[in-house]
Amino acid sequence: MSDAVLDTLTRQEYPHGFVTDIDTDVIPAGLSEDVVRLISNKKGEPEWLLDWRLKAYRHWLTMVEPKWARVTYPPIDYQKIVYYAAPRSSKEGAPKSLADVEPELLAMYEKLGVPLKEREILAGVAVDAVIDSVSVATTFKEKLASVGIIFCSFSEAVREHPDLVKKYLGSVVPSSDNFFAALNSAVFSDGSFCFIPKGVRCPMELSTYFRINQADTGQFERTLIVAEQGAVVSYLEGCTAPKRDTNQLHAAVVELVALDDAQIKYSTVQNWYPGDREGKGGIYNFVTKRGKCAGRNSRISWTQVETGSAITWKYPSCILLGDGSVGAFYSVALTNNYQQADTGTKMIHIGKNTRSTIVSKGISAGHGQNTYRGAVTIMKNAEGARNYSQCDSLLIGDQCGAHTFPYIEVKNSSATLEHEASTSKIGEDQLFYCRQRGLSAEDAVSLIVNGFAKRVLKELPMEFAVEAQKLLGVSLEGSVG
């Protein structure tokens, strides 16, 4: 696009890039069995969990980093990463109440706009706040507990509900699943645990807000959500990190389990620091997310808005085991400057009359590279399975790239699969049309992109849809040129 347009645009800085000065308990960089033991010990874990970690670690040693994704980065030195960092005050476990949370931490979340004070603004949302390696606060716990819902940090769940954790941990993503999942299984520090008992419809949105603060630290959180028979829950995760010119690794694992007639809606607004305009710094977001529709007529839907991270490697998937179960994946992935994203989903149809929907919207600007990689597998006994896939790419400028790799494997001939794909470019004419009506170039781009992503954005819970819309606009500022 023309220089005139470029010149009228200003560039917005990543607004969450500040570092908070808090006293932090950090272990030395490097990974070994001793480090795994140290982490487990710091968290006061039972023997079985340490064994589980060690098994994962030993398996990880035999694995190699996956190279099939369409992303490039210099080799990661796993011995240079710090695997545990926790704000000092929470050394002895999470604070009992908000009154025990350090004021610096409260101020940090305030600045990030995350409501830890159970107050008016997002009163309908319960938040678990995770910084570096630990959860520092979880709101609305008592209120949720009154209907039998467990919503707490992973560490607390290990202490208070070991049987549930033992039953479901690794049941969807085995510790040997892939390189990053194995690493996570060995060194995971904290995360959120949600358990919605039979027949309970969760009365509010549950959310976890992840924040990396410490330098050279990896974040390896684990989230486990279990919805029993007929339970319904909507969960949202958000994340930010300071601006640093080194790359930081984030390798999370999320497991979802839905029993008969249960519904889990999992939404992500991923806004890790993406690196600067020249591609320096940023988070490597290498994440394994998988849901198991274990019961009949269960439903799991993933909605993600991925605007941050230098590199995203992420395929939230559904195992459709129960007859009549339904999986969905709605994704907006945006790459600007030198960001790279290789993201998509796997829908594995095992049960009869299982259905899945995939809607992927990739937006590339600057030198951004955006890949959709998806697999739809219909197993032999998945009589009457149906899939609908739609993958659209939007290009802004001519130095970015969009790539689509849809894989399909059908072992049952009664399956119905539909696939649509498109690639379009924000044209000079669309932009000019908006500007001729008085909109600034930035507002025009934001409007066009939001229109493009609408089908996905409308899947987000209301409050977050508004945030996501703004985020898309901000992430693209400076991209028209």
Binding site: D429, F432, Y433, R437, G438, L439, G451
Partner: protein, 265 residues
């Protein structure tokens, strides 16, 4: 003050330096409706684009003033906010963005610029409702994505609707008639006529005389090869219709520029 004052305007395509406008002189005063006619490729749309600030052109000579402001120094959105409206020859589709939302965003951007309070959803819908009647626009089209899946006629009516809602000081209509059947043409033209208020200026670009049966212009100019070669009143359009553009193109250049100079006053 003159609404628009174009003096010796030369403009080229940025990419290849090809000159399209070769010295345009034109003055539009408040309330006047000017028709700009001319064969395909003579530069009518180019003039509309240069006046509204579309990227891709370079002005090599001359000037254009709008209410005394140096129009060419302003970015496109500022020209729009100051009151220049272009009804596009080829309106653009914006998938996923509702027509109503788009227009409300535009109206409020313009209002903000003028120091007026933004319209809330209710006030805006009242305004939209009133203007939609003017162009006989169905409500379903207002809720659909901007121009997506609209017929040619619907797109053009949508342009007139936007113009009515945005209330510009100078409206440039680029072949708003082309591709319309006679009924659609009448609707579009009556929408435009309803906006003639003695203050608003209009530059009505058309290839055919037909539109000018409905929108009676105060002045008619004929553009040929990037120059206004003839100016006159509404009868010039009729004459053109009878004799065809070849009649103009055969005029000796000297006579043509003398007429154009007179038109510029």
């Amino acid at each position: 003050m003159n609404l628009l004052e174009i003096t010796n305007l030369h403009a080229s395509i940025e990419e290849d330096g090809h000159e399209i406008l070769k010295g345009i002189d034109l003055v539009i005063r408040p309330g006047e409706v000017h028709a700009l006619m001319g064969p395909n490729g003579s530069g009518k749309s180019t003039l509309a684009h240069v006046l509204s600030g579309r990227p891709g052109y370079v002005v090599t000579q001359g000037s254009a003033r709008f209410l005394g402001m140096d129009l060419l120094a302003m970015p496109a959105e500022m020209r729009a906010r100051e009151g220049i409206f272009l009804a596009f020859q080829y309106p653009v589709e914006i998938p996923g963005v509702s027509n109503t939302y788009f227009l409300r965003t535009a109206v409020n951007t313009v209002r903000k610029h003028r120091g007026q309070p933004e319209l809330d959803a209710i006030d805006f819908l009242a305004l939209l409702d009133e203007k939609a009647k003017l162009v006989e626009m169905e409500e379903t089209l207002l809720n659909r994505s901007v121009n997506e899946g609209f017929s040619g006629g619907e797109k053009k009516r949508n342009e007139v609707l936007q113009m009515a809602v945005l209330d510009p000081k100078l409206a440039i209509l680029d072949e708003t008639d082309s591709g319309l059947d006679i009924d659609a043409l009448r609707v579009a033209a009556s929408g435009v006529n309803a906006l003639r208020d003695g203050a608003r200026g209009m530059l009505v670009i058309t290839h055919y005389q037909r539109l000018l049966d409905y929108i009676i212009p105060d002045f008619v100019h004929v553009l040929s090869d990037g120059k206004i070669v003839k100016s006159g009143d509404k009868n010039l359009a009729k004459e053109l219709e009878a004799k065809g553009y070849s009649w103009i193109e055969k005029e000796p250049p000297a006579t043509a520029s003398a007429v154009a100079g007179a038109a510029a006053r």
